[in-house]
């Protein structure tokens, strides 16, 4: 069991190195990000912060309960040791969340998080292969087809927030939901696809990028249509702001697609991530980022597509 965790630690460090970051710096960065997340949470929605932490912890633990992973642990270590491993894994993940709750004197929630971690470690998410989540994007695979199926509950949540925004007469919150839909769409482009799925296209790199960008703009607009329509009807006088939100989301989506292919076939590395953060924090930097990513993408796609 000790060797198993040593191997997990080594693998995690390797992932950070592949991402272009020194592991020591990575752990410091992760700690900083977690503290920042907690501070922001308590500052913005203090009342719901403990429950949000419980939810975030459960989400972080969920991938560890996949069927494939559980089957591997079961066949390799046997039932008893597999359960021990899973409990320890979940407890390690829950530790920062539980400590945060204890520091904020939320003893009940801290107990819940520990209890949930133990119980969920013994559960395997098998998924139901016979049930296929319907998607309006099945004609244009694969980013939106798969992405929609992974995030449909988030999209539903964003739509619900739009309705709440209208009910409480908060246009800013409504505009944020439009941007949120675009951010969800951009997340579909966060990982590079297998090179076979670029190679199969009978297109030049330029045409390939144009195809990908146009598909994304069309699909993301369709996905953002419910909040756009609702806000346009309820706040027609503020249509310019709504259009600005759509434009901002679209521009970030395009930047994300180009950023992905600018690193292709490798994943988005540290330097590209910093540029993407810069685009989010300082939007005018997109004027530099888009052409830079575009020309890098053309070069990176040349080995897989005919020029």
């Amino acid at each position: 069991m000790r060797q198993y965790f040593q191997l997990q630690f080594t693998m995690f460090n390797r992932r950070m190195r592949d991402f272009g970051i020194n592991p020591v710096l990575g752990y410091m960065l992760l700690t900083g990000l977690f503290i920042g997340f907690v501070k922001a949470l308590y500052y913005r929605v203090e009342e719901y912060a403990p429950w949000t932490l419980i939810g975030a912890c459960a989400m972080a633990q969920m991938p560890l309960s996949s069927k494939q992973r559980s089957d591997f642990l079961l066949t390799t270590f046997g039932k008893g040791r597999k359960n021990k491993i899973r409990i320890v894994e979940n407890l390690i993940i829950s530790l920062p969340f539980a400590v945060t709750l204890l520091l904020n004197q939320c003893f009940n929630q801290a107990a819940i998080i520990i209890l949930l971690s133990i119980v969920s470690s013994l559960v395997t998410f098998r998924g139901n292969g016979d049930f296929v989540i319907p998607t309006p994007y099945s004609k244009h695979p694969f980013e939106f087809t798969a992405g929609f199926r992974y995030t449909f509950y988030l999209i539903a949540l964003v739509y619900a927030i739009t309705v709440i925004a209208v009910n409480v007469n908060n246009l800013n919150l409504g505009l944020a939901t439009i941007v949120a839909v675009y951010l969800i769409a951009a997340s579909y482009y966060s990982k590079p696809e297998n090179e076979y799925y670029v190679w199969i296209f009978a297109k030049t790199p330029r045409k390939f990028l144009r195809y990908k960008v146009l598909q994304a703009i069309k699909n993301a607009f369709f996905m953002a249509l419910p909040p756009i329509a609702l806000l346009s009807v309820c706040y027609f006088s503020e249509i310019l702001l709504i259009l600005i939100a759509i434009a901002a989301g679209t521009i970030f989506l395009i930047t994300m697609i180009l950023a992905k292919y600018s690193s292709y076939p490798d994943g988005i590395g540290m330097s590209v991530t910093i540029m993407l953060i810069l685009v989010l924090m300082f939007p005018p930097s997109v004027l530099v980022a888009i052409p830079y990513f575009y020309y890098r993408s053309i070069n990176k796609l040349k080995p897989f597509l005919d020029d």
Binding site: D130, R149, N194, Y197, I200, F201
Partner: protein, 225 residues
């Protein structure tokens, strides 16, 4: 036709293909055999344009990759994608209209289910079906029989024969000799990164005998069972 001349490929200091020359004729089925790590997949990837290389690969079809159906040894599938959506993706990529899948689904695959729920053999069949429906002129089939059941293998053998009749070029690699002897017009032996032997149909039995001898003799005894 594909003509490969002096093809060399190295990964770092490790040379995988070494001045390899070979020709694949239109309307012929060519088998490539070689031990694990002999360079079969690297050769296929070079033909497909997925690897950079030294040497020359020439074809009358230009660009070659847009006329090539490449079935990889272990096809990759996205999760949360159905079989139908996968076929649509591959056809869209080659600007080919989605065919009538009810009619074309010769392997009776559950195309409306997620590919991740498919067995290994079903995945291979799906990848093969998609490559066939793309309407390619040249086919590279890397271990096409792996994981496929008996019925599927019979159908696949017939498909390969039909492709030949249609004048297509088919290049196959397989570790199961009988599947190659059933389908191929010629077999090329790949050793140490180069083609060391070309054997025609009449001499297949000799090649099989030779391979059995070199593979088995003295090795089982070393296990001291």
């Amino acid at each position: 036709m594909i003509k490969i001349t002096n093809l060399s490929k190295s990964f770092g200091k490790k040379s995988v293909l070494n001045n390899l020359s070979i020709e694949f004729q239109r309307g012929k089925i060519c088998g490539i055999i070689g031990e694990n790590g002999a360079g079969k997949t690297t050769l296929f990837r070079c033909i497909a344009g997925l690897e950079s290389f030294d040497g020359e690969i020439v074809s009358q079809l230009s660009p070659l990759k847009d006329h090539l159906g490449y079935l990889t040894a272990e096809p990759f599938f996205f999760s949360m994608i159905t079989g139908k959506e996968y076929i649509r993706l591959l056809c869209n990529a080659r600007n080919k209209k989605l065919p009538e899948l009810d009619k074309n689904n010769i392997f009776d695959l559950p195309l409306n289910l997620y590919v991740t729920t498919y067995s290994t053999g079903m995945r291979k069949k799906l990848a093969l079906l998609a490559v066939l429906l793309q309407g390619n002129d040249i086919f590279i089939l890397d271990e096409p029989f792996n994981g496929i059941d008996l019925n599927g293998s019979i159908i696949l053998t017939e498909i390969i024969h039909r492709l030949k009749e249609l004048g297509k070029t088919v290049i196959i690699s397989s570790h199961i000799f009988s599947t190659l002897s059933d389908t191929c017009d010629e077999i090329h032996v790949l050793r140490h990164g180069t083609i060391t032997q070309k054997v025609t149909r009449e001499e297949f039995y000799l090649l099989e005998k030779e391979m059995k001898n070199s593979a088995v003799i003295g090795k089982i005894e070393r296990l001291e069972l």
